[in-house]
């Protein structure tokens, strides 16, 4: 376990230690029964006072994540290692425990693509809504005409024809880019990872919305970033708070999901987008604009991406096609300019020498046809029906004290429960009923809030949503009153 302390962070040292250990546990990197280092050892290693470590360990105990046994030590007492059971019983591998690593957090993978009957945790789209049969026929045509595609590498930057097609596709969002400024990635996740490994090192400042996409937190934490957070309201990231942060610290990257924000579903107003870009220009920093599903609007079209106003190369724009078209192909697109682009391309070459050609060529016929536009239209219609259904069910069956943000696009609904409810605990109950959701705590980069949850309405069909939301509401109804007496105090 490698704990990195950010001395210039606004977060206290004990909170940082607490958070780091929570992240290790929730990422499955410290399995049940693992012994934490002694207070003496850790305070020496991190060059912090005894009191600081003791305070962090006390908080861990309070959250029931660890147990201290007098004279023996402090042990992880929660089974969170959903990623994979560690072979911790194999004594032959004990020497490995002293190997320091640089992976402080990998929480998102716990909730990504979890098998389960009623899967509300992962923002995936119902396979029944995706153009599998059409893609299959196009793949067959392409490969039977030219099987040698299988023996070719892609350009590192990505297949040229796919880049041409995607630069055309992006025009509808007023994002003007050339094929030369596009990089094909293994989903947006890799795009984001490339940005972090290229521009962020220990102590560099990254600003994120809070809450935000957990996979992004994992990535920036893995680079040792000092993360500062900005809350959001119904117009998106609060730029006045951002301005104050930027005056005080000089962030290198501002990460935002302005359109149908993940997890809350909010949309940043056009005015705020413009302000955000002005701030980035004034402090010469990078905006990473993550845009996984701007096509999925239920009402009117959202404002055009920040990238559409970017004339000085401040915005790195990420668009995934994994979710909305073919998860099996894992294709994402990154658009950037100038030497920023050039350096990201170098990072991509080091990371994997380019994405597979097969997956890129597989999507090409669809992306270049009118079917792409029609498909997105179909998704809007179908997902609006599901959203409406879930809202309707929640209105009828959810207990009092639960609120949500009406999503006007995207794949998710963000629910807020009474502050004393811990959705990590609720998830254990839900899983017993074969239901999964994303607990809100995973979405907070620094100070966690435990009383939210994200429900994805895009993967399950209407019948499954009926059953799932009703069962979930039953759990909420039975769990919430029973917990009222515990009256947990808020975090820290």
């Amino acid at each position: 376990m490698h704990i990195e302390i950010q001395r210039k962070s606004e977060t206290s040292l004990s909170k940082q230690i607490f958070q780091s250990i929570v992240d290790h546990i929730r990422s499955g990197l410290l399995p049940q029964g693992s012994q934490l280092p002694s207070v003496r050892e850790l305070s020496k290693e991190l060059e912090v006072s005894f009191v600081t470590v003791v305070k962090a360990y006390k908080e861990l105990e309070k959250e029931n994540l660890v147990t201290s046994i007098q004279g023996k030590g402090t042990f992880v007492n929660i089974e969170e290692s959903d990623i994979r059971k560690t072979e911790k019983d194999e004594p032959a591998f004990d020497w490995q425990l002293s190997l320091q690593d640089y992976v402080p957090r990998a929480q998102f993978s716990r909730f990504h693509h979890v098998p389960g009957e009623i899967q509300l945790s992962s923002s995936m789209i119902d396979p029944g809504l995706l153009p599998n049969r059409y893609l299959e026929q196009e793949i067959h045509k392409m490969l039977s005409e030219n099987p040698r595609i299988l023996s070719q590498y892609s350009e590192i930057q990505g297949d040229y024809k796919l880049r041409v097609a995607m630069s055309q596709y992006l025009k509808q969002f007023e994002v003007s880019t050339t094929p030369d400024n596009l990089l094909i990635t293994n989903g947006s996740q890799q795009g984001l990872d490339l940005v972090a490994r290229t521009f962020i090192g220990p102590g560099d400042v990254v600003v994120m919305e809070s809450p935000t996409y957990p996979g992004a937190i994992d990535i920036f934490r893995g680079r040792g970033a000092t993360i500062l957070t900005v809350p959001i309201d119904k117009e998106g990231m609060k730029v006045d708070i951002l301005q104050n942060l930027c005056d005080k610290y000089k962030p290198k990257i501002i990460y935002t999901i302005p359109t149908f924000h993940n997890p809350t579903g909010t949309v940043m107003s056009h005015k705020r987008r413009r302000q955000l870009l002005e701030i980035a220009k004034s402090i010469q920093c990078i905006i990473v604009e993550d845009d996984p599903w701007c096509e999925i609007y239920f009402d009117k079209k959202p404002p055009t991406p920040i990238k559409s106003m970017d004339y000085y190369g401040h915005v790195i724009y990420l668009k995934g096609l994994s979710k909305t078209l073919a998860p099996s192909c894992r294709i994402g697109i990154l658009s950037a300019s100038g030497s920023i682009f050039n350096r990201l391309l170098a990072a991509k070459s080091n990371a994997d020498l380019g994405s597979p050609l097969l997956t890129q060529k597989s999507l090409l016929p669809f992306v270049t046809s009118k079917k792409m536009i029609e498909h997105m239209k179909k998704l809007r219609t179908a997902l609006k029906v599901r959203r409406d259904l879930v809202l309707d069910l929640l209105s009828h069956y959810a207990p009092e004290g639960i609120s949500w943000i009406l999503p006007i696009g995207g794949l998710n609904i963000w629910l807020s429960l009474p502050t004393w409810v811990d959705t990590n605990q609720l998830l254990i109950e839900a899983k017993k009923n074969n239901i999964t959701f994303l607990p809100g705590s995973a979405c907070y980069p620094v100070v966690q809030e435990n009383h939210h949850m994200r429900l994805s309405f895009s993967y399950m069909n209407e019948q499954q949503l009926q059953q799932g939301i009703r069962t979930l509401c039953n759990i909420l109804n039975s769990e919430i009153p029973s917990k009222k007496n515990n009256n947990n105090t808020p975090y820290f």
Copy 2:
């Protein structure tokens, strides 16, 4: 440009600065005409003396990589940005130049998959030798039976059935692993990158063979590793020298390509493999065993991998299927044990949430059939013919003073020219004749030697090899004598 200085390295500071700038230039990260920081600026930034920087800059001038203009500064004067022309003429993006990055080197991509008539630079296999038509039919069968595969994510660890098949496949090399201990990666390149990002941070010590695979150098340099090198002889890495290094420094990783070493083609003896593992056990470090083509032997089978003797989880074993089966699918396999495996899996989830399912499912039928073994047999036969042809041509047409190591497997021949020849310069001539090869300088992690080249005999057919090697020998014959008078002094 971010230069990282390793104060505990055995390499002098001026050499480190020299090397870092060479790497930036040769990676296309400092395009022609770029101005280097002034001696004053750089000495201040790196906290080294004026003299140190001056010495490094003088060496750069001597190598004709930069030009100093009195009163103006020092400028890059070599066009090496083959990756991509930087849009350096776009003044709108000038602000980006002050953004520090963490990509010190990405040389390998310049030589990977370079289009060219006679392509001797990249260890790829002639598409005519790969089972494209068979794979195409299997892909068609799989997708027409189950098009929903296209809408599914892979497990992050990789498709379970492919892991079962690969653990079976590895048994022929006496590598005993379970599907649980295998991770599917985007080629071996990503496997290696995952290892580096998980276990290596600034100043951690990595031992590599010298020369070695350039892509590995790019990766470890990108993590700020202190790289120590061990020379090789005809039995592979010289373990006596390794032992001395390990006594003095404590490396965290020893990276080796024991079988048909890249670029030299040598094979580490069984005895040395055993000794290497003993050393790793005694200092509790990781061995990364990169094994891209042990199937391609021309004489007798090579010794079994070091991984076959690994009972304590010291070896991370990497096996690529990209080259030998289907480059378009970019599939590699990583085998490791214990918490090392668990942490690599967490890194994979952060990097890209898992490899595409389509590419994994595409290879499954082939890998599980007997065709896989037959295919490797065919490759051995076909590539042996090409190797013999190239050796024959070299014997007949190469000028005196050129020697090579007889490759008894793999895809490459390593040529050594007289020490005063710079193969980077030769490459410029060769390209004019539509021939590419890998200049040896890319293969040295620390102190470069410029008088070697790697020729890959696997991608071109016999007719192309005939033409290419003869033309190359003509160039060698005409270039080498003409350079004799320059009498360049050796490096440093």
